[in-house]
Symmetry: C2
Subunit: 429 residues, 2 copies
């Protein structure tokens, strides 16, 4: 921070509702990362941002400043570096199907992915359900793999956008998580630092999602698309329904199994639909396909499956054991208490139930049980009968089962009419 | 903080605009003082308070919680314990005249007073311009003096309302100083802890004051009167004009000299008017007088002067040297650049000029020169002529004089019509 711009003046400017210029944001946020601006000043500023908001230009500048706070991945050697981000869903194994599909159609997927926390699982954790899979690649192996097979996924390093990690922890402790510019810049700072030129965002809407209404989700999507535009990237955002878990499987090994089934043409329709939509938008934006038909073909004719197997093998996974993943064999059913049609099933509660069984982290560093989980026995719109199973839990000796039952209480709504809602609500370009 | 109320939930509640109950405030602010709630959480909460405000009840509860954070002075042995607070003016030597006047009329003035910082002086510093005066009394001597002569003034101890000191420092660093409930609770917490039953507040309005408009000042006054009501105290607030320094003298020794002149019946009219108004309101509220005439008599017949001399002597001051205080003898005049009538003179700039000469602290611990200062040669409404002095500065060998000139530039406005504004704008009861 230059001596002429004091941290307290930055706070006072935001308190008044002024927009900061990029130098000011660099001084303030850069100063925070360097330890020159104390957390209490940033905390007051965060609340002022929640109150006053940020302009589109300002949000884009904040995002660049956060992306500049650490290393930026240089993907210039690849013709079509792409990336995808989801705002966090339950049963969301999309990346496992999407990444090899994108690679099969000529895109380069050099993806940093997170581990799960709370009720949502992480892609990296799911991949580790495959025996031998190495989720942490060094930089050289990571790039070599992208060059050779077009896809590599590794754990998120602290080196990318460290400002985001610091700010997120502070926001979590200060009641400033929910803020459109802060959410948008947090997500996009990591995407910009990740180096992809074309990015598709899966913005979840509903019970199990951070955005509860389509309006909120649309505003977030528009903000992130605008940030991409300011940064010279092409960004599209798909708003997708999260009023029930995606597909039928929740839990690491169960989700890998379902992703594999989808790559073989036997997956649940909603998962397939989401994969095709995200891939279509991304590849069209990247200029690699001209219509959804080309994407569908690559999924149906086995090219995506073949790429998936090469990917798994490249990261040490035992492809021969893909049909033999370890899943908890003891099961218990959670049943409908009325007859009618399933109108919603709270994805967040299902995710939390699986977490209780050992399939989720309460805090960083918790060891996961990758074999526990839940299988949806009915999807929204299905006819159900009282006493028949809605969800089958896979557990270990009943561990966490009581808590799972308590969490699931009231999670399902059963009504008199069956109605399926569209999975994809809209696309923001 | 009880385990059931997490600090982040307190912040989120204020972010939503909810009012806290007293237990919540006790847990949060009490937790901060005990070191259990970190400053970054309090900082975010402060900005949320700036944003959402506080109800009257909530502000009163916050004030009590702050007053409860340390010792409370027990003045129950006195029949009429009174106190006065000023929101901070330039040239404000009111306490030096008011305190002995109140004592002369039967009130007990057991007053904790602050030292000056920035452009406003502190009563304690002013009293130290009297040779031998001891501004720091131990508890026993303090109470004995109030019993014997009805008045004692000592430095503010950290023991009273320590939450206020902590919160004020944090507000100063986080752009959250300007907030009605935070200002009102800060002032009143120290007054409540100070133990007086009847309190008069001098709320300054104008250039040299924290409150720039009568509306702001009225709102602050009403909030503080309401806090007093909730706490079972009688509080009245006088809104007084600070569009020019009070009286003619600014600077420690110069101000003592002017206070003494006022006690002898030869002081400036505005200072006399303010003293009589504050004393009248306070003593009437305490039931000690029924009209202003009784107050005026005690000032005019020498009873207040006699009490002042006993007070100075009781705290070690050399009464024989009161007419011989050390004042810087070198002077320099700041002159009018046009002829006409003085319409305003920025009190804050005059205070800052004296500070440059060595008469103010830039930070705690700075040693003051009690002999430097400024004398107003014209008051608002007076006719002035170009080239004739408006302010005479008393300096030491020109030290700080350049900075003082620079600060004074533009401080005076000269117009075509002379108009005196009333000093006392209104009284809030």
């Amino acid at each position: 921070m230059t001596p002429s711009v004091r941290a307290v003046d930055v706070i006072l400017a935001k308190r008044r509702g002024d927009a900061h210029d990029r130098d000011t944001l660099e001084g303030f946020i850069g100063g925070y990362v360097r330890g020159e601006v104390p957390d209490y000043q940033v905390a007051a500023w965060l609340m002022a941002v929640v109150w006053r908001g940020m302009t589109e230009r300002e949000t884009a500048d904040l995002t660049e400043v956060m992306a500049d706070s650490g290393e930026r991945l240089d993907l210039a050697e690849f013709a079509h570096p792409v990336d995808k981000h989801s705002t966090g869903g339950v049963g969301d194994k999309t990346t496992l199907v999407l990444a090899p599909l994108l690679a099969a159609l000529g895109a380069s997927v050099a993806k940093m992915s997170g581990r799960g926390l709370g009720h949502t699982g992480g892609t990296i954790d799911k991949l580790e359900a495959i025996p031998g899979f190495r989720a942490e690649l060094d930089r050289e192996a990571f790039f070599r793999q992208v060059r050779e097979i077009g896809v590599a996924v590794t754990g998120q390093t602290r080196a990318l956008a460290p400002a985001d990690g610091l700010l997120y922890a502070l926001r979590d402790a200060t009641g400033t998580v929910a803020s459109l510019p802060l959410i948008a810049s947090s997500i996009m700072s990591k995407k910009l630092a990740g180096g992809a030129r074309t990015i598709v965002l899966d913005v979840k809407v509903g019970h199990g999602a951070f955005m509860r209404t389509p309006d909120e989700a649309r505003a977030l999507a528009a903000s992130m698309v605008a940030i991409g535009h300011h940064a010279g990237r092409t960004v599209r955002a798909v708003l997708s329904n999260m009023d029930e878990p995606l597909g039928t499987a929740v839990g690491h090994a169960l989700e890998v199994r379902e992703a594999l089934a989808t790559l073989r043409g036997a997956g649940p329709p909603d998962l397939r639909e989401l994969v095709l939509t995200l891939a279509g938008e991304l590849l069209e934006a990247a200029g690699l396909v001209t219509g959804r038909g080309e994407v569908e073909a690559a999924l149906d004719d086995g090219r995506a499956l073949e790429r998936f197997e090469r990917w798994v093998a490249a990261q040490g996974g035992d492809v021969a054991r893909l049909d033999d993943l370890e899943v908890a064999t003891e099961t218990a059913d959670w049943c409908a208490d009325a007859s009618g049609y399933l109108t919603s099933i709270d994805a967040q509660k299902v995710g939390a139930a699986v977490s209780h069984l050992g399939g989720g982290r309460r805090q960083k560093g918790d060891v996961l049980d990758l074999g526990v989980g839940a299988v949806m026995r009915a999807k929204v719109g299905d006819a159900v009968r009282a006493g028949e199973p809605l969800v089958t839990l896979h557990h270990r000796d009943g561990r966490g089962l009581e808590a799972a039952w308590a969490t699931l209480a009231g999670a399902a709504s059963i009504g008199e009419r069956g109605e399926r809602r569209p999975l994809v609500l809209e696309v923001v370009r």
